[in-house]
């Protein structure tokens, strides 16, 4: 077998294994820890009889491993269980919300990735210039600011003071693409601001790392233009770490979306999960947690596989 195929297959197997471990952890997190769902649902009015009745009804009187196996088999078949709160199939509740979240994260990525890479290249091209310093200072503040501060500041500035965009991102089924895009302008801007900073910083670092190489000095001594050196000589060799950072930031985007959705009242999966946690709707929380974790793992897996595939030393073994 080609060594690279073996590497990729091994990484995929490892990904499957960690998905399984995560399912175990998420299930254990809601089952083994002290704290009883039945009591929590009943609140103050929890009599022992009522608690026992609820436990029986939800199937909580069965041993944990049995319920875990049921849950896992269901997951694999696409059956996410039934919500405690309104007795609807979880898959039905999740479907539309997941699509909305993926749309928001997708648009944010489409804006943030080219912007970050472009700014990173510009920061190297005009290194130590005002632009570079400005970008550097901006990244430090953007990294350390909470998403909700950026979100509300954007609303305050661009929806209230200068009404350019809607403050609340309401979407409904059957809404056309142009209208959807218009509504998500501010949440996309908030997500982009948070991720661009990190990606730009890492892009800059990756290219600068390559710029230290002797062959770049050769190119400089040949008298090539600085733009050409950065774009044609340094960038291709810095691609692999840049791709890695981009994918890791996409994984971050999937999580950052939770807070941003709540700020902009956007009907996505994050908002659904937060509501489910408040209502102690365990099956729904488990399903949302599993979807978020799986997306995160898949993206990290993609980063690793891309890193293998873009490594010239692995592609052309001697």
């Amino acid at each position: 077998m080609h060594p690279i195929l073996a590497l990729v297959l091994r990484r995929l197997a490892l990904g499957a294994l960690s998905l399984w471990a995560v399912s175990l952890l998420i299930f254990a997190g809601t089952e083994i820890l002290p704290g009883d769902v039945a009591e929590a649902m009943l609140g103050q009015s929890a009599t022992p009889e009522a608690v026992a009745a609820i436990r029986r009804e939800l199937g909580l009187d069965r041993p944990a491993w049995e319920r875990y196996l049921d849950w896992l088999v269901g997951l694999l078949q696409g059956d996410l269980g039934t919500s405690y709160a309104n007795r609807m199939p979880v898959a039905e509740l999740v479907g539309e919300r997941l699509a909305n979240t993926l749309f928001l994260a997708g648009v944010a990525a489409a804006v943030a990735v080219p912007l970050a890479v472009g700014l990173g290249i510009a920061a190297v091209r005009w290194r130590e210039s005002v632009l570079d310093r400005l970008l550097s200072a901006m990244t430090l503040s953007a990294i350390s600011m909470p998403e909700f501060f950026i979100g509300y500041a954007l609303i305050y500035l661009f929806a209230v003071t200068w009404p350019l965009a809607p403050p609340i991102a309401t979407v409904y089924p059957g809404m056309d693409l142009a209208a959807r895009l218009k509504v998500v302008v501010l949440p996309v801007a908030a997500l982009a601001l948070v991720t661009v900073a990190h990606m730009m910083r890492m892009t800059r670092a990756a290219i600068l790392n390559v710029m230290e190489s002797p062959y770049i000095e050769t190119a400089e001594l040949k008298g090539l233009a600085r733009s050409r050196i950065v774009l044609r000589h340094a960038l291709p060799n810095a691609l692999s770490p840049i791709i890695n950072v981009i994918v890791i930031n996409l994984a971050y985007l999937v999580v950052g979306v939770v807070v941003v959705e709540v700020v902009f009242v956007y009907p996505g999966l994050g908002q659904l999960m937060v509501d489910a946690v408040a209502k102690r709707d365990v099956p729904l929380v488990q399903a949302c947690g599993m979807i978020f974790a799986a997306t995160y793992i898949l993206l990290n897996l993609t980063a690793d596989v891309l890193a293998i595939l873009t490594n010239p030393r692995l592609l052309h073994p001697r």
Binding site: S18, G29, A40, P146, F148, V258, M273, V274, F292
Partner: protein
Amino acid sequence: MTHRMPWSARLGLALTLLFVLLALVGPWLAPYDEAAVVGDVWEPFSAAYPLGTDQLGRDMLSRMLYGARRTIGIALAATCLSFALGTTLGYLAATLGGWVDAVLSRLVDTLMSIPTLIFALVVLAVLPPSVTVLILVMAVLDSTRVFRLARAVAMDVVVLEFVEAARLRGESLGWIVLREIGPNTLPPLLAEFGLRFCFAILFLSSLSFLGLGIQPPAADWGGMVRDNANAIAFGLPHPLVPAAAIALLTVAVNLVVDWQLRRATAGRGG
């Protein structure tokens, strides 16, 4: 040491100390009680209410001061606990090696493959929302990062001669970890402490903002953003006040950490 600090790090340090001071003495400075309703809903900034009043007519400045103690105190407690847990286990994994290292490392890998916020949400769905639970959840989840760093730096130290000498002298495990490895791994862990503290502030505030952290009527900055969120629709800046305080504190700490990290890399000639 301080005379070579760049102005950005000085500013960061001054602001951080100011925040910590406010957290210590805040409740005594507060003009009103955090739960006292003293005026109308969302009164503007004025002499009587320097930061206005909140959605129930409570004094924002008083709540900010009480909230400073709660937000900073809980984040600090969680960070300390996560360091105690993470460094102990990380040092043990590096010193003992073998199956202890293998089991701990795999466990940490798995915990880290779930985004922290998501796993916290999952656990908070069944745990009661109390301050102790919050501190424990934050500390355990955050200790994974500390574990990785502590293990990595300790790995470099364990192989050095003086550790080997201590082992041959027959020193106990406790001695080796506390007296040989601990002091020699401290500097990189100190910079990490600042980063983890920032993360704890942001994390706690996010949980409170989502309504799953500190429960009302107790004031904390993240919760105050949530409580006053609706004001923004009326063009009032009230939710921006606590949000800006969080941002300012984390930026300040980051300025100091950034300087520390830069100094560390400069020392290594990188």
